[in-house]
């Protein structure tokens, strides 16, 4: 699911993390999805078996909010407008809600593969 990233490498080193954080925040803000009210997890491509399963496992409220955000962003995109500042996603609201479920499903799939290719030594 996830693309190769240096994030783990950086987070493990506090000095580097402190260095990179302002840069990361600037970059995320500049990406612009927050201005149309989306969260980072809304941008995950849906066209895969794993993400489809994860979407089905979302709690009903989360699933409703996600659809709402996506439709609002769609409207903004069509009308070439940004949301008023009060309605834009704040950095504190931009949390992972789908990725944990996706990671869990990937772990399940990996476990199945591991068990299927298991060699038992007695």
């Amino acid at each position: 699911m996830s693309a190769p990233s240096l994030a783990n490498y950086i987070v493990k080193r506090p000095w580097l993390n402190r260095w990179m954080m302002p840069l990361a925040q600037w970059y995320t803000d500049a990406a612009g999805y927050r201005r149309i009210g989306l969260r980072a997890d809304d941008l995950i491509p849906e066209e895969s078996e794993t993400v489809q399963t994860a979407l089905k496992r979302l709690p009903p409220k989360e699933a409703y909010d996600r659809v709402f955000r996506i439709r609002r962003a769609f409207q903004c995109s069509i009308s070439h407008q940004l949301l008023p500042a009060a309605e834009q996603t704040k950095p504190s609201e931009d949390v992972e809600y789908l990725s944990p479920i996706i990671r869990e499903i990937e772990k399940e799939q990996q476990e199945r593969v591991d068990l299927d290719t298991l060699i038992v030594k007695r």
């Binding site: 089905k56 496992r57 709690p59 399940e108 476990e111 199945r112 068990l115 298991l118 038992v120």
Partner: protein, 464 residues
């Protein structure tokens, strides 16, 4: 070369010789009252009641019996779902992993529920006892109750189970007979029917709370059958330490254990899947309980309906009476519970034949009440009832649950010798009295199928 005919002629004789060489004593040991290997050694380790019967052999069985069947569930469907959540993902390992590990060890795990109990059972090679004791403890105390497992797996299978039940008119009628006879408690249906809206009560959190109560130490018993009792209680003590001794006092409590009361009545349900009539009376409770009446099980064997021998209707009165009706089937049973019992006559088949067979059954019951049954027949019935009671105690399927249930409820577990004695002591007069009491009291009648043709209780000659 050996010709086939000589070999086949001699083989049985050779076998016979071997058997007799093994000694007449070992073969006849079933008759003695204190049969070693059929008595349960009851102990308590880590606050959990453990019973084991020592049977020499390479395999063993361990079952966890929890007093959490539909009788004790707070909302419909809970014990069904709890049963199906057994061996699903726990905090330590996933359902898939449990499955594969059990496969590698060559064991077998299953879960079932009856009206009173949820039973988790594991069968295994006796060396693997510690693994399966740990597994049962883990399932009891650390199951995750993941919402997605409930939605993706369990609710789907539950739907099929409901459909299977709805397609079986006999099962529906038996369920309805329980409702009519006991209202709540034992009357709760064993699987919610397709029209019950159980989903609105059900959530994984509610179920987790219910499970905590259901699998609390005071509410479970472990029953085993394996080569070594000491080992069983040792490992159970080791692994069940972590199981909570009482559940939290949250919203989803087990239902209080109120004594069952018999009501009686009639209910008719139309169905296209087939026809069945269940005629029920207050029967005998399980052995060791105050409601235990061995004469009811003798009467059940006397009325019978199903032959125990091939190609003959058998001696039972109902079977004799239904010989002319090829498209109807009758059977009599005494369903024993921890504080009550239900004596049921089930008739199923073609609607027009059910009416006459049902009438015959009631007439036979009246004959038994009038004492018009010969002593010879009753002797046969006593023998059959004794065989059935002992056989069910001996077989793993029924014996484990019966023993566990007795332990949790504080009654004495099945004692083979005493069961045999109590049934032997049944007299003709007792059988007559019990039949009389059935007819003088209220019956419970459940009718499922083509209601246009199926009889009412008045047509059968019963009062409701």
């Amino acid at each position: 070369m050996l010709s086939r005919s000589t070999f086949s002629r001699n083989a049985p004789r050779a076998l016979q010789k071997q058997c007799s060489a093994a000694g007449a004593n070992s073969r006849r040991s079933m008759a003695s009252a204190t049969t070693p290997g059929l008595q349960y050694d009851v102990t308590e380790s880590a606050g959990v009641k453990v019973a084991n019967r020592e049977v020499a052999g390479p395999t063993g069985t361990l079952a966890l019996v929890a007093k959490a069947g539909p009788r004790y569930q707070p909302f419909p469907g809970f014990s069904d779902v709890l049963e199906q959540f057994a061996f699903k993902s726990t905090l330590k390992r996933s359902a898939l992993r449990i499955n594969r590990e059990v496969e590698l060890l060559g064991g077998e795990v299953s879960s079932t529920h009856s009206r009173e109990n949820v039973v988790l059972k594991a069968k295994f090679l006796s060396n693997d006892l510690p693994y399966f004791a740990e597994l049962l403890a883990e399932v009891a105390s650390q199951t995750k109750f993941a919402a997605h497992e409930l939605n993706e797996v369990i609710l789907k299978t539950l739907k099929y189970r409901q459909q299977a039940l709805a397609a079986n008119p006999e099962a529906v009628a038996l369920d309805v007979a329980h409702v009519v006879a006991f209202h709540r408690g034992l009357g709760e249906s064993i699987t919610p029917s397709t029209t019950v809206s159980f989903e609105k009560y059900l959530s994984s959190e509610a179920l987790a709370e219910y499970a905590q109560q259901a699998f609390a130490k005071s509410n479970i018993a472990l029953v085993g059958s394996g080569p070594n009792s000491a080992e069983v209680s040792k490992w159970v003590g080791d692994f069940f330490k972590g199981v909570p001794s009482t559940g939290s006092s949250a919203g989803y409590q087990l239902k209080q254990n109120t004594a069952s009361q018999y009501y009686g009545g009639e209910q008719r349900i139309s169905s296209k899947t087939g026809n069945a009539v269940v005629i029920a009376f207050p029967g005998s409770g399980a052995f060791g309980t105050p409601a235990y009446k061995p004469e009811a099980s003798v009467l059940a064997a006397l009325l019978g309906g199903e032959s125990t021998i091939k190609w003959t209707p058998g001696f039972s009165l109902l079977a004799q009476a239904t010989q002319g009706f090829s498209q109807a089937r009758a059977s009599t049973q005494n369903l024993a519970y921890s504080d009550a019992g239900l004596f049921t006559i089930t008739v199923s088949g073609k609607a027009d034949q059910i009416a006459s067979v049902g009438k015959n059954a009631v007439d036979l019951l009246k004959k038994a009440a009038a004492g018009e049954i010969s002593g010879e027949e009753i002797k046969k019935a006593v023998a059959l009832a004794k065989f059935r009671a002992l056989e069910s105690a001996q077989s793993l399927e029924t014996g484990l649950e019966a023993t566990g249930s007795a332990l949790i409820n504080g009654y004495k577990p099945y004692q083979i010798g005493e069961v045999a004695q109590s049934i032997d002591a049944v007299t003709e007069a007792q059988v007559k009295d019990v039949a009389k009491s059935f007819l003088s009291g209220k019956a419970s009648i459940a009718t499922v199928g083509d209601l246009f043709q199926l009889p009412y209780s008045e047509d059968l000659g019963l009062t409701v």
